[in-house]
Amino acid sequence: MIYLDHAATTPVKPEVLEAMLPYFTEHYGNPSSIYKVAQRNKKAIDDARAVVAGHLGAQPNEIFFTSGGTEADNWAIKGMAEALKEKGNHIITTNIEHHAVLHPCQYLEKNGFEVTYLEVDPDGLVSAEQVEAAIRPETILITIMYANNEIGTIMPIAEIGAVAKKHGIVFHTDAVQAVGHLPIDVHAQNIDLLSLSGHKFYGPKGTGALYVRRGLKLPPLLHGGGQERNRRAGTENVPGIVGLAKALDLACQDMEAKNAKIKALRDYLIDGIKARIPYCRLNGHREKRLPNNVNFSFEFIEGESLLLLLDMEGIAASSGSACTSGSLDPSHVLLALGLPHEQAHGSVRFTLGENNTREEMDVVLAKLPAFVERLRSMSPLYEE
């Protein structure tokens, strides 16, 4: 199989699994317990917290483990809204956020909040100026993703952070696609809250974290036991937390060299597709782009059929569309770029990983043009 869907999820690295294993069957004690065998688990969590904090430029007590990126996003957004509702009811975000941000925002809209969805430019960018222009006296939260999951565009986070700081507004970023892939420094970038998800950087599914700047009063989303310093209840997923930290540690090792390699493959694929297939469009910013993201619209054809053909040849990719199983619902991200509906439907995302090779890119480049041609020949929209 040629796996080109690393933005959806990544395999757990063997070293990561190995780090996790003892915590399933051997060191299983509840970290909140008093006896010695459980204390080791408490230490494992503390160590993991320090590792995660280190890679974000944060302090360990600013890191809270969650069940994934979605929980972190929900917590940050609904929590800040609840905490600051006396201060104001306005939130600024973009129209290309992940649904884990958009849907909480829409939920808040039904509960008395107002949300500005900034429109991105054709490359998927918002500017710090746009953000600043949208600020109102009642603005309490800015939530803007670090890098987009579909088109890979990287937002000007430090600039937006500076604007947020200047106006004294809390700034959250959904960095699920960035953590482990791009260098991050929450203090230099003035980030107040940051979401991450373990399975996007070779860690286990069902793990994530929220960075919360010290001093920010964020009420819990999950109420219950006193875990995570009374902020996130629930027995800690010790193996998951250990795995997340180990994976992040590995991901951040030689990040620059790994990214250079992946970027070269990415550009090879992008240039190859452009050279071989007419009527196609690279979606997302050409330079301000995740090192591993390739997203193309192929005119006149629909994405799912192309994915099926690729799958038959052992190539795993994903459609630009949010939900792969119903084409009535084209990707809100691609529509936000200004793509017509039929192009939004005809998009395919390839996201590369550490182990992909140039040979694999060659296979894709060899097969893809014929697949596109075949579907075009069936398409009522395509007239030579």
Partner: protein, 146 residues
């Protein structure tokens, strides 16, 4: 997700193409929804002699187009009128629930082509109403974005 039969019909679809001077042509869906299905019929002595399609749509849409056109060939108009989307789906060994509407699309396209044929020839076909492109309902799906 798809049955083997669907994948077969999708990978090697029969009846792809156009019929020149077709006796009936039906187009349903629209690009906005991501589905367009166009069916061409050649009809002689009340019998469908040939059927072809062009489809912009998902795998299920392509497979149902191919299956439907195959099913109507050789049938009388009345027989063809009895073909439901369920029958097409069954012939494909079933479709995932979220994909049933794709088979509706095929049924609609067939009826639109028959309507076109009836209009051109001043006929009325029992039970046939004008196509109205109602393929607009929302469908929710059990999947996430990533």
């Amino acid at each position: 997700m798809y049955s083997q039969k669907v994948m077969e019909c999708f990978m090697n679809p029969k009846n792809v193409g156009e019929i020149e001077n077709a006796d009936g042509v039906g187009t349903v869906g629209n690009a906005k929804c991501g589905d367009i299905m166009k069916i061409y019929l050649q009809i002689e002595d009340n019998i469908i002699r040939d059927a072809k399609f062009k489809t912009f749509g998902c795998g299920a849409a392509i497979a149902t187009s191919a299956m439907l056109t195959e099913m109507v060939k050789g049938k009388t108009i009345d027989e063809a009128m009895k073909i439901t989307n369920k029958a097409v789906a069954e012939a494909l060994d079933g479709l995932p629930p979220v994909k049933m509407h794709c088979s509706c699309l095929a049924e609609e396209a067939l009826r639109a082509a028959l309507w076109d044929y009836a209009q051109k020839n001043g006929l009325t076909i029992d039970g046939l109403t004008p196509p109205d492109n109602i393929h607009e309902e929302e469908h929710t799906a059990d999947s996430g974005e990533n």
